[in-house]
């Protein structure tokens, strides 16, 4: 098992720079998820760790060994591809045992390793089948099995679940996580799905246009996003962003119907800000809150999403537990705890500081 260190790594394709100096250390046994919108460079970074893309500048080391000039096969890694990349002309058993066969391991050892992995993944009945004779979920498990048999220092996952249907995806999320807990291997997992990132990661690294926007535990990112970009990327339904200003220890949210003011715990100077409020942090008040007209109500059973028109062009989302006590067309006033606000400087999107509400 090994630590992965990424030092000032850059990647250019011709004149196009896609990775701008990334520094990241992934601890031995840690499960790190790289997440971001498409084109943010997450897959490129993973492929550089794997050795499938050249590193334009900086160094990557695995287990203390600089791997910049090593071939993928010399890096002691295993990778699960989005397409699974199962060898179509080999059956499941040979697919899983291929890496050991390449190392000229004895047949018995290969059989044992493949058998063990197949057992853990419930693939035993399919060992003799070709990939095209398997369902999507089974193929995905074979791809995982192949990685397990490799017994690498680092597992790399490149959006491995995105070709599965929703139900299977949820199930496999747990499987991958269990697998990590059993093997304890350093894992780097790329996805564009923030739910996957939140549910699976020890630590999430959010990438934005080739730079790290924020790295931290899932809850850190959720509770204290470092920028408006991270705040909007993490969380579903997405955080509400409202225009406002900070001055003299208070925040004022500017709405067409009038400003809503709230005190802050600390004096943060004065600035134009974007105010972020998570949908679950809103609650109904008699008056004095954010006023809006109910447009749409989405029932999820255990909870309800209510979308309100507050005159901003985009609806405000209010997430309430249980069943709604409002109706479409009704005007509702919503209050919030100022301690739950996330404030971002307008324009740059940087976090303004942590607002602590005055009791």
């Amino acid at each position: 098992m090994a630590e992965v260190r990424i030092d000032s790594v850059e990647k250019r394709f011709g004149h196009l720079q896609v990775i701008h100096g990334i520094d990241l250390t992934i601890a031995d046994g840690e499960f790190v998820v790289l997440v971001g919108p498409s084109g943010c460079g997450k897959s490129t970074l993973l492929r550089m760790i794997a050795g499938l893309e050249e590193i334009s500048a900086g160094t990557i080391s695995i287990g203390g060994r600089v791997v910049n000039d090593l071939e993928p096969r010399e890096r002691d890694i295993a990778m699960v591809f989005q397409s699974y990349a199962l060898y179509p002309h080999m059956n499941v058993e040979r697919n899983m045992g291929f890496s050991m066969a390449l190392r000229k391991q004895p047949k018995a050892a290969i059989n044992e390793a493949v058998g063990k992995a197949a057992g853990a993944l419930e693939l035993e009945p399919y060992l003799a089948r070709l990939p095209r004779e398997l369902s999507g979920g089974q193929r995905q498990r074979v791809a995982m099995g192949r990685a397990i048999v490799r017994r690498p220092e680092v597992f790399l996952f490149d959006e491995p679940l995105s070709n599965l249907d929703a139900q299977l995806r949820v199930q496999m999320r747990t499987e991958v996580r269990k697998l990590h807990q059993r093997l304890g291997a350093t894992s780097i997992y790329v996805t564009h799905d923030q739910v996957e990132a939140m549910t699976m990661a020890d630590r999430i690294v959010v990438l934005e246009q080739g730079r790290i926007a924020q790295a931290g535990s899932p809850l850190e990112l959720y509770d204290r996003p470092a920028s408006r970009f991270v705040a909007e990327f993490i969380g579903s339904p997405a955080i509400n962003i409202l225009p406002g200003a900070v001055a003299r220890g208070a925040v004022s949210i500017r709405l067409p119907a009038g400003a809503v003011e709230a005190p802050l715990a600390a004096d943060l100077g004065s600035a134009e800000v974007d105010v972020g409020i998570r949908p679950e942090h809103l609650r109904r008040v008699r008056d004095g809150g954010i006023e809006g007209v109910v447009q749409v109500i989405e029932h999820l059973g255990a909870e309800t999403y209510v979308f309100l028109d507050v005159g901003l062009g985009r609806d405000l989302c209010w997430r309430m537990p249980g069943r709604p006590d409002v109706a479409v067309g009704e005007t509702v006033s919503l209050g919030f705890d100022p301690g739950n606000l996330n404030l971002f400087v307008s324009g740059s999107g940087e976090r303004l500081g942590s607002p602590r509400a005055a009791a």
């Binding site: 002691d76 190392r103 017994r151 690498p152 220092e153």
Partner: protein, 301 residues
């Protein structure tokens, strides 16, 4: 799990230089067998080459060769014959091939059988085809004249008549290559999106509309490919003409390749032959450029 690096083997060396190892042999073939001979064509075209015993004697004859090219009436006739042959033969083949492709796709049966039978002419030696057809065109006992006389007409001089010989060659070519056009266009028809045609039918299109307003426009890429392949091959025509008529009677079926062969190997004029070759290559490239433009223009429409 790390294993010590084994000593570099031959495979390791090959692997390290794989980029060149893989392309290298092809580059060698192209340089030695095409680029070098092509460059040599220029030298040869400027020379007159004679053989005396084992000696090659090269003398400068660029202007002579030029003058000869300009005044080579047989070459001009051959160019015209080749172009005429190519246009007429390819046009007929395209129409028949397209019709057959749409027909087989519409009948939706005997696809496999039709394909198996029709691929035979494509893969046969053209010389064997020429030989077979020269038997069939035979004046006294060929099957065509058996039919013609059986119907009560005079036998026709298929290959010996100045007016008819080129058309006899064209008929053979249509037999030979319509199946090839069919194969390409049939793959094109089969690849058409069924929903579009069904939608057109629901919109009220009759068969004729479907063919001209939906199927043919959608198949344009396949049609362009078939047209291109066939035209290229038609310009190279040699084997069947050599067998059927050897260019005769007179120059009625003289084609470019045949003329070139005669200059090279019957008149032993390597220098002038090279000049002719260059002229043919230039004409081919010019044709390719024009055809490419035209296809692109039609494709945009």
């Amino acid at each position: 799990m790390r294993s010590p690096r084994p000593a570099a083997s031959l495979t390791d060396v090959l692997d390290r230089h794989l980029k060149w190892v893989t392309l290298g042999p092809a580059v060698i073939v192209f340089v030695v067998l095409t680029a070098f001979p092509l460059a040599n064509l220029f030298l040869m075209a400027a020379s007159s080459i004679r053989f005396e015993q084992a000696e090659e004697i090269w003398t400068f004859a660029l202007w002579d060769n030029f003058r000869r090219l300009a005044g080579d009436e047989v070459f001009h006739i051959a160019l015209w014959n080749t172009a005429y042959f190519a246009v007429v033969a390819v046009a007929i083949e395209m129409v028949l091939g397209l019709g057959l492709a749409i027909l087989v796709a519409s009948l939706n049966s005997f696809k496999g059988v039709t394909r198996t039978v029709l691929i035979i002419p494509v893969l046969m030696p053209p010389v064997a085809i020429g030989s077979m057809w020269s038997l069939m065109y035979g004046h006294d006992f060929g099957v065509f004249n058996q039919i013609v006389t059986g119907l009560g007409f005079q036998p026709i001089n298929w290959l010996g008549s100045v007016d008819l010989a080129l058309y006899s060659v064209i008929i053979l070519d249509v037999w030979h290559w319509t199946p090839f056009v069919f194969l390409i266009l049939f793959a094109g028809v089969e690849g058409l999106p069924k929903e579009v045609i069904e939608a057109a039918r629901i919109d009220g299109a009759r068969n004729r509309d479907l063919v001209f307003k939906v199927i043919i426009p959608l198949m344009w890429p396949a049609i362009a490919v078939a047209l291109l392949f066939r035209t290229i091959l038609a310009f190279k025509v040699f084997d069947q003409v050599f067998l059927l008529t050897s260019g005769g009677p007179g120059t009625a079926t003289e084609v470019v390749s045949l003329h070139l062969y005669k200059v090279f190997f019957m008149q032993n004029e390597l220098g002038y032959g090279a000049m002719l070759s260059l002229a043919i290559i230039a004409a081919t490239i010019a044709f390719l450029a024009v055809g490419h433009r035209a296809a692109a223009a039609v494709g945009r429409r």
